[in-house]
Amino acid sequence: MKLYKKEGNIIQILSFPNETVEKGDYLLIEDGDPGKALIVQVIDVQFANIPGILEELLRSLPDGGELMQGEDFDPLEIAPHITYIQDARLLTCKIRATAENESLSPTSSWLPSRSQSTIKKLQIPTLLKLAKIDGKLPIVLGGTKDSMLLTIDASSLDGRLNIITGKKETGKSHLSKLLMLNLVRYGATVVVFDLNGEYISLGMTSDGKRNAYYNKIHVLTPSQNFKAALKQLHLRVLLNILIHALHLPGTSAREFRRIWRSLKERDNLTLHELGEAIRNCRCNHHVRDALFSRYHALVNSGFFTDNVAEAILLEEGLFRAKNEGGAIIINLRNTSSIDRQIVVEYLLGKLVDLLTSWKLKAIFLFAEEAHLYLRETYWDDIVTRMRHFGIFTTFITNQPDTIRQNIYRQADNIFLFNFTNEQDLEVISRASRVDAETVRSIARDLPPHYCLALGKIVKDFPMVAKVKALDVKTMGETRLFFKDMS
C-alpha cells in the first residue's frame, strides 16, 4: 500500500490486489519517524483511476459483446503485471487518530511521509487495546470480518443514550437482546417496551429449556399480570394519561383534578366511585361527557384495578432486579394503540417516582419503535430530564426518521445496521458522534447481522462486527403463510 493523497481528514491510499482491505478496516500509517503513526479507517474502496483502462476493457470485448477468442504469446509474462495494475484499488480513508508512544490523540495535524511511510492493517484487538476499549464489564458484541472479537464495556452504556437502527431483518432486535442480557448479567435493572412480544421468552434456550436468565426475566402483560391500582396512582400520572394519551381538554382536566382530590380526601378512590363522581358532577355537560368517555377508556383498558394486591408485580419485579439484576419485559403485543400509550405513560411516571425517591438506582430502558407509544414531548424529556433521574434509554427502530433530530444529536452510541435508502442514511448522519461519509459509505454495504458501532462504546473508532448469536428463544421471527408448504 502507498500513501497517495490527503485532503482534509480524508487520506487516499493505493492498494494492490494482493492486499486484502475492506471497508471498515483500520490501517496504521507509520511514518519514517519511529513511534508516530496515523490511524485511518477505510470508508470506501474504488478502482484506481488507471490511464488507458477503458481502452483495455473495450479491447477485450470487440466481437459483438462476446469475448474474442485468441492466443497471447507473452514470453516475458507481462500479463500478470497488467492485471495487477488494472486491479489496483484506491482506498478512501478517514483519519481517526494519531498514535504516539502508545497513546492516542484525535489529531490529524501532521502528515506522514508519502515515500517513506509504511502502511499495514491494524487488527481490531490491537486497536481496542490502543484505544483502551476494554474494561471490567466486557460485552462481546460479535466477531469482526477478520474473525477477531469486538468487545465493548458495559459501563460505556451506563448513563448513555443509545440508538439501534437498520432496515428490517438486519438484526436490530437481536443486538438489543444481546445488550440487554449482558446488562442483566452485570446486575443492571432493565425495562423493555416489547411491542411484538419478542423478549418474553428470553429466559429460555432456543430448544425451550430454562437458561441462566430464567429467574431474571419478568414478563408483565398489561391487563393481565400488570395492573395499576387507582389508590396508588399519582394524580399527575393519571392526568398525563388523560391529557396526552386520551387527549382530554384543559377545562375537563381541571374538573377531573377537582373530582380526584375530592375522592382522595374521602379515601374513596375506586373505579366505581370515580365513575359515579363524574356522573354526578355539577359541571357543563360537555365537560361531563368528555370525562365520561375518558373514564370508560380507562376502565375498558382493563389496566386499572381497585385491588392493590393485583398491582404489585411491577414494583416487586423492579426491586428484585435492583438486588440481583433483571429485566422487566412490558409485553405490549395485543395491546391497542391507546392502551399502549396509557401503559407507557403510567410506567414512565412510576419509574420517575421510584428513581426520584432513590428506591431505584438507575434503569436501562429499551424502547422498540418508540414512536408508536411515546408522546412527542417525552423525547426531549427522555434525553434530558429522565436521564438525570437515571433512565438510560436505547431506542430500536427501522424507521430512523421517527426519532427526532435532537435525539440523534445527543446520542452517545449508535449501532447501525444496513440501510440502503439515502434518506435514512441522511437522518442518521446528523448524529454528532458520526461523520456522514462513514455512515453513508459503510452502512450501505453492511451484510445482514453486521453492525457498525459508533460512539463512546468504541471510543469514536467506528467498528464493524457480526453480532454474536444468542442461545435464547427469541420469538422475533415473522409469521409466514407459506412456511410449512415448502
Binding site: I53, E55, P62, Q69, L76, I82
Partner: protein, 361 residues
C-alpha cells in the same frame, strides 16, 4: 420408443489457419529482449514524457502523375473468404542513462465464419543503447533475413528509430507467417506495398507477396495516411460524387530507386461518409482478379468509416494502452530493479503555462 434421434455434436470449433510457425524470430526476440534487459539492471530510468505509439507509416514521396477519374464500382461478394490482417506497434517506455527501453508487440487477426480470432505476440521489451543497438538489430535481421546481401544493405538505424525498425521486423515476420498459412484468403497489411525504404526490403516484400499468391491469397494494403497528391490535393480527399463503394486507380506513379512499388495504387471509398484510404493491391495479381478481392472483402468483413474491421482489430490488439505501459514499467522495475524517475519537462520548467510539453513542441 425412440421417436427422434437427436444429433449431438461438439461445439463447433473455428477452423482458423494453424500456422506452422517458424519460431526463429520470436525466439530471437525473447533472447535479445532478456539479454538487453540484463544490462539495465539497477539503473535508473527517466519516465518518458512523450509516450507515443509509433506508427509504421513511413510514406515515400512519390510524384503523382495521373488519377483515373472513372470510378470502379464495387459489389460485395459474400462468398466465404478468410480475411486476415497484421499490425505491430512499438512504444518507448523510458530512457536510461545509456539508452532507451522500448516495447514491441504484434498482432494478427483472422475473420472466418463471422468470428474473429487473434494471435498476439509480445510485448517484447528491449533496452537499446548506442553500444548494443547494432548487435540487437543485426541479430534480429539475421534471424529474419537469410540473405547476406539484404543484411549488408541495411545499415543500423539511429537509437530513436529502433522501436519502429524492430516493430517492422516483427511485422514482416507476421506477414510471412500469414502468407504461408492462409489459403485462398485476403491478407490485409497496414501501410502500403512500397518497398526499398527502411524496414521494407524489396526482396523480402516480394517473397511475402509470392508466398501469398502461391496459396491463392491476395494482399491488400490499407494506408491510414498518404502523402500522394493530385492537383495539390491529397488523393484521399478527391471524393467525387459517386456512390460508394468504389475505387479510383492512381496510375503513372514512378518512384525513384531504390523505392519500388509492389502494388497498384487505388483510392478506396468503401462505405458512406467522407473517408477514403489509399489501397495497394499486389501488382502481380492479374488485372481481372484485382477488383474481386476488394469485393470479397466487402462481402466478408465489417467496415467502419471505410476501414476493414479485421485490420482495425489487429491495430487495436497490438496498440499499447497507458495501463500496459505502467505495467511494463512495473515489470522492469521489479524484475530488473530499474528505478523510475520523472525527468522534469524543460518546456514546462522554462515557459510555465506557455510550455506545451515536449510532445507538442
Amino acid at each position: 420408443m425412440l421417436i427422434e434421434q437427436l444429433t449431438i455434436t461438439t461445439t463447433p470449433k473455428y477452423n482458423f489457419p494453424q500456422p506452422t510457425i517458424d519460431a526463429s524470430l520470436p525466439q530471437r526476440l525473447i533472447e535479445l529482449s532478456i539479454h538487453s534487459l540484463k544490462h539495465v539492471q539497477n539503473q535508473s530510468s527517466q519516465l518518458n514524457q512523450q509516450i507515443f505509439q509509433q506508427d509504421n507509416n513511413l510514406e515515400e514521396q512519390i510524384p503523382t502523375t495521373r488519377i483515373e477519374l472513372q470510378p470502379i464500382s464495387l459489389k460485395p461478394r459474400p462468398e466465404e473468404t478468410v480475411v486476415a490482417a497484421v499490425d505491430t506497434s512499438s512504444i518507448k517506455i523510458g530512457e536510461t542513462s545509456k539508452g532507451i527501453v522500448i516495447a514491441v508487440r504484434g498482432a494478427s487477426v483472422w475473420k472466418q465464419k463471422r468470428n474473429y480470432r487473434y494471435l498476439r505476440l509480445g510485448p517484447f521489451i528491449f533496452h537499446i543503447t548506442e553500444e548494443n543497438k547494432k548487435e540487437v538489430y543485426n541479430a534480429l535481421q539475421r534471424a529474419y533475413f537469410n540473405s547476406p546481401h539484404e543484411h549488408n544493405r541495411q545499415s543500423s538505424p539511429s537509437l530513436f528509430q529502433m522501436p519502429m525498425r524492430i516493430a517492422s521486423l516483427l511485422e514482416r515476420w507476421l506477414q510471412v507467417m500469414l502468407s504461408r498459412t492462409v489459403t485462398n484468403g485476403l491478407i490485409l497489411f497496414d501501410g502500403s506495398l512500397t518497398s526499398g525504404i527502411a524496414g521494407t526490403p524489396t526482396q523480402r516484400m516480394k517473397e511475402i507477396l509470392d508466398n501469398a499468391r502461391k496459396k491463392g491469397n491476395v494482399v491488400l494494403a490499407f494506408s491510414k495516411m498518404t502523402s500522394l497528391r493530385f492537383n495539390g490535393y491529397l488523393v484521399t480527399d478527391v471524393l467525387l460524387g459517386y456512390k460508394p463503394p468504389y475505387l479510383f486507380e492512381i496510375a503513372g506513379l514512378k518512384p525513384k530507386p531504390p523505392i519500388v512499388l509492389l502494388g497498384d495504387v487505388y483510392v478506396a471509398r468503401l462505405t458512406k461518409g467522407n473517408y477514403a484510404f489509399r489501397l495497394d493491391i499486389d501488382k502481380e495479381v492479374s488485372l481481372d482478379r484485382k477488383i474481386e478481392p476488394v469485393e470479397k472483402l466487402l462481402g466478408n468483413d465489417l467496415f467502419s468509416q471505410s476501414y476493414p474491421e479485421t485490420l482495425r482489430l489487429a491495430h487495436i490488439f497490438c496498440t499499447f494502452t497507458a495501463n500496459e505501459v505502467i505495467a511494463i514499467q512495473h515489470f522492469i522495475a521489479h524484475k530488473y530493479n530499474l528505478k523510475i524517475i520523472n525527468r522534469p519537462d524543460m518546456h514546462r520548467l522554462l515557459f510555465g503555462p506557455f510550455g506545451k510539453g515536449e510532445s507538442r513542441s
